[in-house]
């Protein structure tokens, strides 16, 4: 397997930023026409509501990730797009056509299954050709398109093999080739990298992005792996209990989570509970018993006076020092309970006077930095007023 993309070692738990395109993305343009429109879709299985009144617009050439834990309804939503389930209520519109009552075999959509679902009795070539033959294309065209597609996923030499004679990575490529060869308008991918080992997963996710950009197909990916979502997606929809909690670009989902659920689901975070004591248009002060201090955040929120809120602070945005810093609005004191040296960074767990434990990660920018702080050291934690986010829900 040859990959043209080299992968930088990435610090633990800090997902990489997705590739930025220079053009303004469609979802930011006023009045852009969505390619896939999900309108108030609800799906119930008996009493259980798997998908609860979801509305979502996905635009052409997007690589949209539905991210959520198991049972969050993400797979059900994907299966409704493919046509294997029909919504209890609501509409799904793909490229201007209402999909209600349209059978899976007539939809301009293809799906890559989590288990790959390769036909075990057919060779790699026959697997890829399966969809084209159903379209009734003539043999020479089928052959040519299969060959092209296998070349693209670098499996041209394995066309005669059966799926059980392939490695996991090769099977994943066959599944991808089979779902792309019909040139669908929309490709659905259910945990596309889930069955691969870590190294292969990293290589493959960049290849997926390359293929998606090359072919200009709109991708909807379902995953429970936040790192995968961060790397792949142009936008992420975070799902929980059948609802999309937040839809945003990977950067915004990480830096500006809109709820405690999102903040905790993506990356790790310290949450200080507190009450609003000063609410100005562009800043707030919050009295937090957890932190044992008044915290200052320089963005405004809309909330009732004295409302209970949470201040979310990412471990890597927290500074740690034995000396009391000067001129910091947000500064709390604690004792180091645990340290872990991870090479590129060090992780500290600091116990505050309130009993709360705060996680801090610091890059080891110099060689001896990691060794300077140790167990039972009394330290000050501090951060800039724009590093933390106030969460009202």
């Amino acid at each position: 397997m040859t990959s043209t993309v080299t992968i930088e070692p990435q610090p633990d738990s800090v997902p990489a930023a997705s590739p930025q395109t220079s053009k303004m993305p469609l979802w930011k343009q006023e009045g852009a026409k969505p390619f896939l429109r999900i309108e108030n879709v609800t799906k119930k299985f008996g009493e259980f509501t798997a998908v609860d009144n979801i509305s979502l617009d996905i635009y052409k050439n997007e690589l949209f990730c539905l991210l959520g834990g198991s049972g969050s309804g993400k797979s059900t939503l994907l299966r409704m797009l493919a046509g294997f389930e029909s919504p209890t209520s609501g509409r799904i519109i793909i490229d201007g056509v209402d999909m209600a009552g349209i059978q899976p075999w007539k939809r301009p959509v293809n799906m890559m299954f989590q288990s790959y679902a390769l036909f075990p009795h057919l060779s790699v070539e026959e697997n890829v050709a399966f969809g084209l033959k159903r379209e009734g294309l003539d043999r020479s065209e089928v052959k040519q398109r299969v060959a092209e597609m296998l070349e693209m996923v670098q499996l041209g030499h394995l066309g005669k093999r059966k799926p059980d004679q392939l490695s996991g990575g090769q099977r994943q490529r066959v599944a991808l080739a089979r779902s792309l060869v019909k040139r669908p308008k929309l490709l659905l991918l259910d945990e596309p990298l889930g069955a691969l080992d870590k190294k292969l997963r990293e290589e493959t996710q960049f290849e997926l992005i390359n293929i998606q950009e090359e072919l200009g197909v709109t991708f909807v990916v379902v995953t429970h792996d936040q790192e995968e979502a961060m790397t792949l997606a142009s936008r992420i929809g975070v799902m929980n209990h059948g609802v999309i909690v937040q839809t945003a670009e990977p950067h915004d989902v990480y830096e500006y989570p809109n709820s405690r659920f999102v903040a905790e689901f993506i990356g790790s975070v310290n949450l200080f509970e507190g009450r609003v004591i000063e609410d100005l248009p562009d800043s707030v002060r919050i009295d937090s018993k957890d932190a044992g201090a008044v915290l200052f955040v320089n963005h405004g929120i809309s909330c009732a006076p004295n409302q209970k809120v949470h201040v979310a602070l990412r471990p890597e945005k927290t500074q740690i020092s034995k000396e009391k810093p000067e001129g910091q609005q947000n500064c709390i004191k604690g004792v180091i309970e645990e340290t872990a040296y991870m090479g590129s960074l060090s992780v500290y767990r600091v116990r505050l006077a309130s009993g709360m434990e705060v996680r801090v990660t610091q890059p080891n920018t110099t060689r001896d930095l990691g060794a300077r702080l140790t167990w039972n050291d009394e330290v000050y934690l501090y951060w800039d007023e724009d590093s933390s986010v106030v969460l009202t829900s």
Binding site: A82, G83, F84, Q103, P104, W105, K106, V109, N110, M111, F113, S115, A117, L118, F119, P120, H121, F130, G131, R134, E135, R178, S179, K182
Partner: protein, 318 residues
């Protein structure tokens, strides 16, 4: 130079010796595992087969047992006489009666096998796709007939099929027919009997193949533009193929040699090799001829099975 070749030779022989040892040890381990079934097959299949084969090469005689010995010897005159009689086999091919019986048996067995497959497939499919709790119940219903004697069940069919039997009574009383149908002692009754008797042997292997099938394969086929009917023939049937082959063999092989069903349900013109065999043994008391009939039947059945197995083995090896 010479020392080099010498040492190479020693090395080579050493590794060969080591391989040989491992080979030997493995063989013993394997042997102890398969010894019991091998012994069983030898005592209860292979030796009886040799006895039958031996008898088929002798001549009938009015004696006990009713055939001549192959070997006779006289040590004083110093001769051993081995007399192999191929006449029985030649007669099998000379008299069209036997060939007709073989062909007719194969035809009846083949048609019944296809009918059984056509009936068993929907049953197996339904059981495999039903809820796990109902599945156990349905499977036990398939096996339920085995709880009564096979002969009893065949007699029950006679009761259904005879001239004043249940089926005719019902059809006459509803006015669908005004003359009773002749069903008993026809080939039709033989087909009914074979299909009914062997149905579970077809359902069970089909069920186990269908139950193992990954249903996302069907979704994948639909997703790629295949209608459910097409998916059935392109995905479900190939995936059930091991079950189809196993079930067909389990029905076809015993059906070829079936004796009870044609004897009880079939007419005098229902020609099956099992009946011929029985007549040779018990009516004609021609043991050598009966043995020859049995040996040829075995060859007729074993050869195609070996060919199927061979082609399957090759497919898997590719």
């Amino acid at each position: 130079m010479s020392t080099q070749t010498g040492s190479a030779w020693v090395e080579g022989s050493g590794s060969r010796l080591a391989k040989y040892n491992i080979f030997k040890r493995l063989n013993w381990g394997r042997f102890s595992v398969i010894a019991v079934p091998m012994l069983w097959l030898a005592v209860f299949f292979f030796i009886p087969f040799l006895v039958v084969f031996k008898i088929s090469l002798s001549e009938t005689a009015i004696a006990v047992p009713p055939y001549t010995a192959l070997l006779d010897w006289n040590l004083d005159e110093a001769f051993i006489n081995l007399k192999l009689n191929l006449g029985n086999y030649l007669f099998l091919f000379e008299d069209s009666f036997y060939i007709d019986a073989y062909l007719s048996s194969i035809k009846i067995a083949a048609i019944s096998t296809v009918l059984t497959l056509l009936i068993a497939f929907p049953i197996a499919y339904m059981i495999a796709r039903s809820k796990p709790t109902t599945r156990a119940l349905l499977l036990s219903l398939v096996i339920l007939p085995f709880w009564t004697s096979f002969l009893l069940r065949v007699y029950a069919w006679m009761g259904f099929l005879k001239k004043n039997g249940l089926i005719n009574e019902f059809l006459l009383s509803t006015g669908i027919i005004d003359q009773p149908l002749i069903m008993l002692q026809t080939d039709f009754a033989v087909y009914v009997g074979i299909v009914y008797t062997y149905l579970p042997f077809m359902v069970l292997p089909l069920y186990s193949a269908l139950e193992k099938m990954d249903l996302t394969l069907l979704e994948a086929a639909e997703d790629l533009g295949s209608r459910p009917a097409t998916s059935f023939f392109l995905i479900t049937v190939p995936m059930a193929m091991p079950g189809i082959i196993a079930g067909c063999m389990l029905v076809f092989i015993p059906a070829v040699g079936e004796f009870v069903i044609p004897a009880l349900l079939g007419g005098s013109d229902t020609l099956m090799i099992g009946r011929v065999l029985w007549d040779e043994f018990f009516l004609n008391r021609d043991w050598p001829m009966a043995s020859a009939v049995a040996v040829v039947m075995l060859i007729v059945l074993v050869l195609p099975i070996m060919m199927i197995r061979n082609s399957q083995g090759k497919e898997e090896a590719v």
